[in-house]
Symmetry: C2
Subunit: 345 residues, 2 copies
């Protein structure tokens, strides 16, 4: 299995009695090859199950036909969705998408970037991770900047590094919509449960949360804005417990994402309360998680198909030098499910 050399274009050419150029032409399906030769070569290709080496081809054509992608953790449904959709469009365009999980560790992100650079990816898609931190670590910014000088990088999120393209969700607007949704349902005591504040999304949402409330004449209360630390279900559960202990608990809570919303839901149920009977909950991402809990969670929905497509298409454009917008905003909408109810004011 090991000793045997891979069969090459030379072998095929020789046995078919043609030149390698002819075989190459047939491989790339270019016109101008006599039918008989074409058939003879095809037969040989079948016979030996010959597949041209992408390495050699890439070296020769000086392009790898691969796009790199960085995300903190595909186990997170949000990134899994993005990856899927990106892979789909990349594949449709003849590209391979190589994904790396960075766990939002700066050194790992940089290490993967170096590796992707060596692999001569023709573009890089950065989803979350250190790119979301504010302020941005200097070393990271430098790395990304250097990367962007060689091949286009498009960020799924906001990132003001000059040469990077950005495709993102307007979290402020999204938060605004979520708040309004709850206000419309009659809620006035609304809480926002977030995670670490060094993530720009947290900052944007936090600000929009307060502004929107004020806009509608509701004074934001400090005890209703809680930092749960992490962004997972455990944090959501703990955070919600804290809210429930308040002398005057909120009637509705907005969670930073579905994972935290699911945790919040558990906290409520465990204490014997009902959702949406006693408390309304809404999350962000509208991932599969919203369909797994009872009740199903209302959530801010993004069009992942569109999102993924935009990411890759932007990369494609940038790669072939076509003019394309440096910024793109992905629309969202409130996916109303069963976790929020109308209350009497």
């Amino acid at each position: 299995m090991d000793a045997k050399r891979e069969i090459t274009i030379y072998d095929i050419a020789k046995e078919a009695g043609v030149s390698t150029a002819t075989v190459s032409r047939i491989l790339s399906n270019s016109a101008g090859v006599k039918q008989d030769k074409r058939e003879r070569v095809q037969a040989l290709i079948e016979k030996y199950n010959f597949r041209p080496s992408a390495l050699a081809r890439g070296l020769s054509e000086t392009h790898s036909k691969v796009i790199g992608m960085l995300c903190p953790d595909v186990r997170n449904a949000y990134y899994a969705n993005l990856f899927m959709e990106c892979e789909r469009t990349a594949f449709e365009n003849g590209y391979t998408l190589v994904l790396n999980n960075t766990f939002a560790q700066e050194s790992l992100e940089i290490a993967f970037m170096e590796k992707l650079l060596e692999q001569r990816v023709e573009s890089l898609i950065v989803c979350g991770g250190v790119a979301d931190w504010r302020p941005l670590p200097e070393r990271y910014a430098k790395s990304l900047e250097r990367f962007a000088k060689r091949v286009p990088v498009v960020v799924a999120g906001k990132l003001d590094i000059e040469p990077c393209h950005q495709v993102y969700i307007d979290h402020a607007q999204a938060m605004c919509a979520a708040v309004r949704h709850l206000l419309t349902l009659g809620h006035r005591r609304i809480a926002f449960m977030h995670g670490f504040t060094y993530i720009y999304q947290t900052q944007d949402k936090l600000q929009a949360f307060q502004e929107t409330l004020q806009e509608y004449g509701v004074t934001p209360r400090a005890e209703y804005m809680i930092n749960a630390g992490e962004f997972d279900e455990q944090a959501g559960l703990l955070g919600m417990k804290r809210l429930l202990c308040l002398p005057e608990p909120p009637t509705a809570v907005i969670a930073m994402n579905d994972l935290m919303a699911a945790g919040a839901l558990q906290a409520v149920l465990r204490l014997g309360y009902a959702v949406p009977g006693d408390f309304s909950i809404i999350g962000f991402d509208d991932s599969i998680i919203t369909e797994l809990t009872e009740p199903n969670l209302s959530s801010v929905h993004y069009d992942y198909v569109h999102y993924g497509k935009a990411l890759i298409q932007t990369a494609l454009c940038a790669m072939n030098g076509t003019q394309c917008a440096r910024d793109q905003v992905i629309p969202f909408r409130i996916a109303v499910k069963a976790s929020c109810r109308k209350i009497d004011a």
Copy 2:
């Protein structure tokens, strides 16, 4: 950004006044290069942020340092877990893992296999998808067999294609454990909700389910073995509804996976019953899903770290010709959470 040629080893060699061989030696950190040259070259590498082309290197060394992986859908937590762990060990060993989502579509799987072949992956990890079908589609078997003739393929599951290695869970034993767990809790009316029966896991579990019950003097009932079609939460929900309509519903149900278990849980709750008060539910995979529902779902747990490591290590062994077991079984255990309770017989 586009016109500029990538900097090469020649550029470095020239500017440093050494040969490319010397630069190459420095890149691979081989001994026997004078300190001064080494430093000069290093400086240049830094200066230009030079990264050797993996394409050229792969072509020259005739190995790509990449391993391919096929799975139906990373949005499924089970595959996401596997991928993560595989990526980790692959990376630790200097390999890149390229994942493709095949949606369990035969033609897509084959298309991706061809593509990976072209990329000269040094090994292939196949997780689920068409490989789980029984009988195995002939065209697929042929493709896989041809692939395996070139590079080692290791399957995360059972697959009796001669040259493939297998790392899998003993689903029969796992089912047996799940049944015994419920029997021990006093349940006698136990149901099993599965999906399509053309998946070998379904067949194995179904058989073990019946055998184990019989072994313990419980006669399996046809109406307690339901085929819900798909393997998702919707199927679980519908299937559970059917069970609840039975004149004599089961007191416990085993779901094919956590997704279906979550669906079953919803069905129970929506009809006003309690879990585990009125019904006990247990799933398979022990994915994050089990932590998102209330109550948390008991589930059959696999050690994903071990699983992923075994997959890659097997590939690594096979690649360098080291002797290694063709079959490996991954241990499991029952992760007891809150969805099953003891009942009086």
